[in-house]
Symmetry: C2
Subunit: 353 residues, 2 copies
């Protein structure tokens, strides 16, 4: 294949981990005989500082023309105290999602054996957890009509049938590729939008007779994820519920710093770590590059390059097994590796493989 990759490094630790992702991408392409080229573009606080817009038109063009976007992280503390500020890095994220039509956010929740002790949950509950949260990403209250004055405010949780059908299709198809168990999460006992979600899911389910589809209220899902995370295989939900549940899911795994995600839809797909820009660590060479590197694995898998993805996952597992780890996951007496050193180790592993 011939990959044209848009690289959006963003803020904080973004640029450091981005480099590691790119190096792994290059190493794998070389190994498997793929061509790859990179276009770099600005976003987030970096882009606000430079051009006053967290997702400038030029960046959009670079993304649109690419096969995939390798995204790192956005966010800067100078914007944190005023969530009502007119221009904020997060708006760049929302603009990217909307403009690229990234309606499906895919977040695997996976535990790594050697990191299970990092989970806030008791080990026996979490050790078999392995599920995927699929979050609708371009609808609901995030993009519905809004109003605010000094005395009242509202947001509209608006969904249309095609929006719901396309995300449920993604979910059913993921379930088919996995353990064939789909949990549709909603609040159909209260919300009209949820009732439409549930109605459409019930219409579609017979088309996937091998999939066991169940329906769960969001409050129950928030509990079940902690009480019995191994229950889930594929979970799908709307944007706002997904925001809450995907974060809850990632933290129970104990491996938050290692989890990648994919956002796919109408145009170029985006691959990124789920963690943020960790501004305090910027430039210190301590950030864990594994989530970024695993997002490269998801990128390959998206293009059906299974062996390429598998090799990256194998390299990551090997680095963990060999205790080649950044400080936050290093064992007590282990040597602490930097961002670059972990990345380099994985590149070397891939080259030698």
């Amino acid at each position: 294949m011939d990959f044209k990759i848009a690289v959006l490094a963003g803020d904080g630790i973004g640029p450091e981990i981005s480099v590691q992702g790119v190096d792994v991408m290059s190493a794998v392409c070389e190994k498997f005989g793929h061509k790859v080229s990179y276009e770099y573009a600005i976003c987030g606080a970096d882009a606000i500082d430079k051009v006053g817009d967290p997702f400038p038109e030029a960046t959009y063009q670079v993304c649109k023309d690419a096969d995939a976007v390798l995204f790192s992280a956005v966010g800067d503390p100078k914007f944190d105290n005023d969530p009502t500020a007119k221009v904020r890095p997060e708006q760049g994220l929302l603009a990217m999602r909307k403009k690229l039509g990234l309606f499906a956010n895919i977040r695997p929740v996976q535990t790594f054996k050697c990191l299970i002790h990092k989970s806030p949950l008791r080990a026996e509950l979490v050790e078999n957890a392995d599920f995927i949260c699929i979050r609708e990403l371009t609808g609901g209250m995030y993009f519905g009509e809004k109003y605010q004055d000094n005395d009242k405010a509202y947001d509209t949780n608006y969904y249309t049938r095609p929006e719901i059908e396309r995300i449920l299709k993604v979910a059913f198809e993921y379930a088919m590729k996995r353990r064939k168990h789909l949990t549709v999460v909603d609040k159909a006992n209260v919300l009209a939008s949820s009732r439409l979600w549930r109605q459409i899911a019930q219409e579609m389910a017979p088309n996937y007779p091998e999939v066991t589809t169940d329906y769960m209220f969001v409050d129950n899902a928030a509990m079940k994820m902690i009480q019995e995370p191994a229950f889930f295989d594929v979970m799908v939900t709307e944007n706002t519920f997904g925001d809450i549940l995907t974060d809850e899911g990632s933290v129970i795994s104990g491996s938050m710093g290692l989890l990648p995600s994919a956002s796919t839809g109408e145009s170029t797909p985006v691959f990124e770590p789920i963690h943020g820009s960790w501004p305090q660590a910027k430039g210190l060479n301590i950030a864990n590059p594994l989530a970024q590197i695993l997002s490269v694995a998801m990128l390959f898998e998206y293009f059906d390059c299974k062996e390429e993805g598998a090799l990256i996952r194998k390299a990551v597992d090997a680095s963990l097994d060999e205790n080649v780890r950044t400080p936050e996951i290093q064992v007590a007496d282990g040597a602490k590796y930097g961002t670059k050193e972990v990345g380099q180790w994985i590149v070397d592993y891939i080259k030698k493989a």
Copy 2:
């Protein structure tokens, strides 16, 4: 005092635990020289079966004329498979909240030493957890304008300034009575309604200079509650977020079956266990009456009868210490007590105290 109590036993195990709550109420009143009278009224599936309405007008009148409502649980599996059915037990709950103006749902999240091993979280994380979730209960998407047809649907997350001010006032006042730490949970980086919440909270905070007020996005709160539940003292949020977070909070405590709640507002306050109607256990004398009994403690505390509340809490702690427990929390070699026997033990303890 002279207490006029409306008793709404509802469905499933409701009637069984209701009796225990009433007996404890009576025992405490006798001990402290209060008068008490009870008016019984139907609700939930029981009321649908009898009069076709889960919160009939007659029940509303009984509640309105009472000093407090002692509520048990509603819900029946025959309604579970169709959340879109026209008449459902949960609608009785929503009608009760709206008609009685119960805008503040107060849920203490408390751990019991002897039950910490029941928490899905590692013991060291949860053993110091002791916080209160305050959920707005009569606004937001639950009651905002809704629409649904075959092709689209929406819900409106609508809040007015007075609605937000009155619930924040409750929250600040709870914080003043506790460790003086209030966390306002919202999604102000995305939602207009959240921005109004945050703006009003920021306006009100200077009136409570002793309270440390912080602001947290709901996705972060869902993570923080698992990673460091002891961080929280009082948390306040809007209706839908509160639905999710209060359930998450109760399950991390490991004591879900023991947690009571209060819903207060413009008219008669309601006191109830947070657990549901557990229809499978109906009539088996195995349901734990402690959440219902502790909701009686909250009732007394609401009327500033602190000693009365404290005595109930002491009796509950004693029953746990003496292993007088229902099956689901009994230790391996302990005798299993029934709903009635646990209730009776607590009544006897109160009489002898």
